[in-house]
């Protein structure tokens, strides 16, 4: 019984962390159609921003939830102004440019922080579930992910700002003729996407040993989750993260973490063969 609860919590955590690492990419790639290969590096910078802020004596939650997203968002803003804005609508070119950016960020981080592993300890103590001890921080990640999805849903679906952003992504010419500047809306959306990536990196930072190349570990999973999710932003993210998270954890528990990863990748291939446009092209259509 205790083990069942522990496994359930681990599955919830796997789903939540997949959604968390993919949400920034879902905004930048899913909404704006910019293939951001530097997504992992935005997360890595979020991690470093958190660790630096904590080492300067700032409260760890402030560092994770406020400072890291702002710092990475600001970096994203600069990147958008200098590079990305020239490349909207040129899918392959964004790929090349952001790949270059990812190498650049790895280099910069190595120069500043060195190539040695750094990290901070988790700010939440362990929990006891019957005979088992679990990582309390995993529950924190679940809560943050749920809140993030709800917030994203409310902003995009219930506010005028979200409506304008979604409208601009679909028909920039119409938005423009209604008096909104697509350029500024793109800029703001890219800022939000970068900040979300930074937030994800920050929240995962206490769980891992961070090196400048850490971003590479997330990029593939994030793309798989977003692509398999399909056209709807939130419904797609939640549904594909659930499918992959559950499969990953079941195989991890039954066999080993390696088999879990393999099962996740096989599931992704099968899913894309059956639903080439992603889950939400067939199910939950028209949702957000």
């Amino acid at each position: 019984m205790d083990l069942t609860i522990v496994i359930l919590i681990e599955i919830l955590y796997a789903v939540a962390s997949l959604a968390l690492i993919s949400v920034g990419l879902a905004v930048v790639f899913g909404m704006m159609k910019v293939i951001n290969l530097a997504h992992g590096e935005f997360m890595m910078m979020g991690g470093y921003a958190t660790i630096t802020a904590v080492n300067l004596g700032i409260n760890v939650f402030v560092a994770m939830l406020i400072i890291a997203p702002l710092v990475v968002g600001a970096i994203g803003l600069v990147v958008e102004r200098l590079v990305i804005r020239h490349l909207y609508g040129r899918l392959v070119d964004t790929m090349l440019a952001t790949w270059g950016l990812s190498l650049f960020f790895i280099g910069i981080a190595t120069v500043i922080f060195g190539n040695t592993t750094t990290g901070i300890s988790t700010p939440i103590p362990g929990l006891t579930v019957g005979d088992y001890q679990i990582n309390g921080y995993n529950l924190f990640i679940v809560v943050v992910s749920v809140l993030l999805m709800v917030a994203l849903y409310l902003v995009l679906g219930r506010t005028r700002l979200g409506l304008i952003a979604r409208g601009t992504m679909q028909r920039p010419d119409m938005a423009s003729s209604l008096g909104y500047s697509p350029e500024r809306i793109y800029m703001a959306t890219f800022f939000c996407g970068s900040a979300l990536s930074g937030l994800a990196g920050a929240i995962l930072a206490p769980l891992v040993g961070l090196v400048p190349t850490s971003g590479g570990a997330y990029i593939a999973k994030a793309f798989i989750t977003v692509i398999a999710g399909g056209p709807s932003l939130i419904a797609g993210l939640v549904s594909s993260a659930s499918v992959f998270g559950v499969i990953d954890q079941i195989f991890t528990f039954a066999m080993s973490p390696v088999i879990g990863e393999v099962a996740l990748l096989i599931a992704a291939v099968v899913l894309l063969r059956l639903l080439p446009q992603g889950i939400t092209a067939r199910f939950f259509r028209g949702r957000m």
Partner: protein
């Protein structure tokens, strides 16, 4: 001018003499020491301190008048954590620079990439890293501890502190696989049982489900030969779930790259390890070494096992050269095979003539306050694993890395 015989001889002799003069006038020709290490790229956390140690050792030798009254000249190459560059720079060192000795290589893959080049060109080679054991090559001297030296000491101690049921978590490549077999053997030799062994690729960073699995197996002890930054997450997540005070933890790798300084004191305290070197060794040699390290522009907190092995490796070679009275290959090998020893920051290291491995002091340690506190020193442990398969005295032409068969 007519050229008669006397004139020819006179000028000829003078010219020959003039040709010799610069040789007599300047200092003796330098001895060339080749170094091949990753001082950039993903392994530079290991390579940079090794490079610093190599330069420190050469500076020490040169300050005391060089070797055989000749200065030592460094030919160092940065392999940028790229295995392909090892082969290329090994050719450069042996063919163009024609060095007298090569020290270097970090990963086992890099050692195997250059070992044969060294052997073919008759260039003496020192590998100064703790590794999985089994290399048997008369041209190669190895200065790091092997699993038998380390695990044989660590496992009985850790089991005495905890109990007989052991859970093993290992990195999924040759080091981790071989290490897991050794751990299994020594657990059984001490009357215990390995309840499960899990292997993790080097990029796995999420250990939540593993931690739950360990709890359902309820072992008395967890032994973790995990490698690299991603695997460091295990120790962090283990502490975060509050398991640290419930099941004791031992590792064969934590701390080699000074990982215990990345973990906080709460995360690291109590983890049991066994190595040749710790910065906390209380000996005049270690204190002097740390002072020298700082004086040469280094930071003493970055000294690690590999750096100390590199320093001692160069000193061992130097002692061999002094004893042989030459840098020529065969006399130096014979001098080293006489069983000579040096005393360095990590204590006494003796060359085992049978295997060309080091007979070394192994220390049981526990991580406390981000330091590796030495609990007990076990002097002069033999590399039993390699000795079981390798006898260079009886079989000097051997050139293999034996996969030591640990029956499970």
């Amino acid at each position: 001018m007519t050229l008669n015989r006397r004139h020819f001889l006179a000028t000829g002799t003078a010219m020959a003499g003039a040709g010799l003069l610069p040789r007599l006038g300047r200092a003796a020709e330098a001895i060339k020491l080749g170094s091949i290490l990753d001082t950039s790229g993903i392994f530079d956390a290991y390579g940079k301190p090794m490079d610093h140690a190599m330069r420190l050792a050469v500076a020490d030798l040169n300050d005391s008048g060089g070797l055989l009254d000749r200065p030592i000249e460094i030919h160092a190459y940065d392999t940028q954590s790229d295995m392909a560059l090892y082969a290329q720079y090994a050719q450069q060192l042996t063919r163009q620079d024609r060095v007298d000795v090569v020290h270097g290589g970090i990963l086992s893959a890099s050692r195997e990439a250059i070992r044969q080049t060294m052997r073919r060109s008759n260039t003496l080679y020192f590998y100064n890293v703790m590794y999985e054991g089994g290399v048997c090559d008369r041209n190669t001297f190895i200065n790091g501890v092997t699993p038998a030296q380390q695990v044989e000491v660590l496992i009985p101690h850790a089991m005495k502190q905890s109990g007989k049921k052991v859970y093993v978590l290992a990195a999924d490549y040759n080091y981790g696989q071989i290490m897991a077999r050794w751990i299994n053997k020594f657990v059984r030799d001490n009357g215990g049982e390995v309840v499960a062994t899990d292997f993790f690729p080097l990029d796995v960073a999420d250990f939540g489900s593993t931690i739950a699995k360990i709890q359902s197996a309820a072992p008395d002890l967890v032994v973790a030969p995990l490698v690299g930054g991603a695997h460091l997450s295990f120790f962090r997540q283990w502490a975060a779930s509050g398991m640290k005070d419930r099941i004791p933890l031992a590792s064969t790798t934590l701390g080699v790259g000074n990982e215990h300084k990345v973990l906080t004191a709460e995360e690291g305290d109590g983890i049991m390890v066994a190595y040749n070197y710790s910065q906390q060794i209380d000996s005049p040699e270690n204190e002097a070494f740390k002072a020298k390290w700082e004086a040469a522009g280094g930071n003493a907190t970055e000294i690690n096992e590999f750096a100390v092995s590199t320093y001692a490796g160069i000193m061992t070679w130097a002692k061999g050269v002094r004893q042989a009275g030459t840098v020529a290959h065969d006399p130096v090998v014979e001098a080293l095979e006489s069983g000579l020893s040096v005393t360095g920051p990590s204590g006494k290291l003796t060359v085992d003539p049978q295997t060309h491995h080091a007979i070394a002091d192994v220390r049981l340690m526990e991580i406390r306050d981000q330091k590796m506190q030495v609990l007990e020193t076990l002097p002069q442990r033999q590399p039993l694993d390699t000795q079981a398969v390798c006898d260079l005295g009886a079989n000097p032409d051997d050139n293999t890395q034996y996969e030591i068969d640990v029956d499970i």
